[in-house]
Symmetry: C2
Subunit: 262 residues, 2 copies
């Protein structure tokens, strides 16, 4: 199984603290050693880093831990290969363009016998069930709308499609267009919102603490979404199985129950 | 104006030496300080790095200079902004998926009044003439073929399209699908092939030399394509204006005169 990490903020924020704890699971406190990846939206552009070395030892992951890239939407993934070989093209997150915007997607879970009929516009490059699901979702969005229909309409389409994909297995996923971050839980996903008054947070996986009151302004708001809680001294909210959430400007903007218990 | 660097090899090779000289032009020996980018094919996957900081000082470029990523096809670009603002989404190379493969594209030159009618499948995310040209080329390829038609058929399409784009200005470009690297010259482009017996090469832009005989095998072959020659002690071949070349396995596989002098 893999793990997911997402961040959605109202002001560009670096993810160094959370990524440091998350990457530790790729080899020291976890078994997710079959590659990793992270994508940062920056304006309309995306910085996309993938590596098939474990995030704990990858020189690229080391850069991410040291270089505070500021972004309003980030999606990261550490991989334990189950479907698809250990290869760069199978590392999440995946990225495609639709309606002149980049879309970033990462998935945790296995989909059994999942070979959807694809429209041809988006084709998987690698061999994962995850990239097939991403292409299938984008195909549907592209077929229904000629231009971006707005965040709530996207959520409606995801609410319709997610249960059909989740019927094949476990489908925890995150998707972002750089404005909203959509997260769907089949089995395990947690989130918290950090906002004023900020306090000190301590990583569960590493001996690192940050006093966020020293590095934020009063107006900052950051939602962090992750498979397993990253800190021990903060209260994380568990998603219910079958729940789809949309985060905008660092806070939940929509919560919808779209499927039953996986 | 910008500068382009490409590499096509018969065995995965690192581009640290050439990139070191090339990146020096982004701030010390050149004026290309408005961002940079590089894409490495690795199997079917791509590592894609872009930054709007000058390549000479960018921490991401520093990683590239120190981390020998091995690839058979690389395209890099340093930017002097002319059309489109200094923003991440305007940094070359651009990347899209077609026929289940990634395609990487970078352009040097300005296209005046270039607003082609696009089919809608590929839309520019940023504001550059370059990304518009890339989308237009991919639209044509997607409309003509349902699957990859082979490298020579791709070259045929490029030979047809390049002069139409070059009619708007200067269109030096590089395009790769991870197997072949296509390069078109409007004004300035050079290449060389390094193969057995390998010798020592010395960068023109930096005090760095490499004895390639120490880091290669007898069968290795590497083509390096670049706007301005990178070394002073090797013989670089100039492209003729209007020339399209295709490189496969580290050597020219096709040379075609497709346009007049720009």
């Amino acid at each position: 199984m893999c793990q997911l990490l997402g961040m959605n903020c109202n002001t560009p924020t670096d993810i160094v603290f959370s990524f440091t704890g998350f990457a530790t699971r790729a080899g020291r406190t976890g078994e997710h050693v079959d590659g990793w990846g992270i994508a940062f939206f920056e304006g309309a552009g995306v910085r996309h880093f993938v590596d098939h070395e474990p995030a704990l030892v990858s020189p690229v992951a080391d850069l991410i831990r040291r270089y505070p890239i500021k972004s309003k939407n980030v999606i990261a993934h550490i991989r334990k290969a189950t479907v698809g070989s250990v290869a760069l093209e199978n590392c999440h997150p995946f990225i495609r363009e639709l309606w002149g915007q980049y879309w970033v997607f990462a998935h945790n879970g296995d989909l059994r016998d999942y070979h959807p009929r694809l429209g041809g516009r988006y084709r998987p490059v690698g061999g994962t069930d995850s990239e097939r699901a991403f292409c299938w979702i984008l195909d549907h969005l592209a077929q229904r709308y000629d231009t971006h229909p707005g965040a709530h309409a996207i959520a409606d389409v995801l609410a319709e499609l997610a249960p059909a994909i989740a019927a094949h297995g476990t489908f925890n996923f995150m998707l972002s267009d750089g404005v909203a971050l959509y997260a769907h839980c089949s089995t395990r996903l947690h989130y918290l919102v950090r906002q004023h008054p900020f306090a000190t947070a301590s990583l569960s996986d590493d001996e690192v603490s940050v006093d966020f009151s020293q590095v934020t302004t009063q107006d900052d708001r950051v939602a962090v979404i992750v498979t397993e809680p990253l800190t021990a001294n903060e209260t994380w909210n568990g998603f219910k199985p079958g729940e789809l959430m949309m985060f905008v400007d660092g806070a939940p903007a929509l919560v919808r129950q779209v499927g039953g218990r996986a």
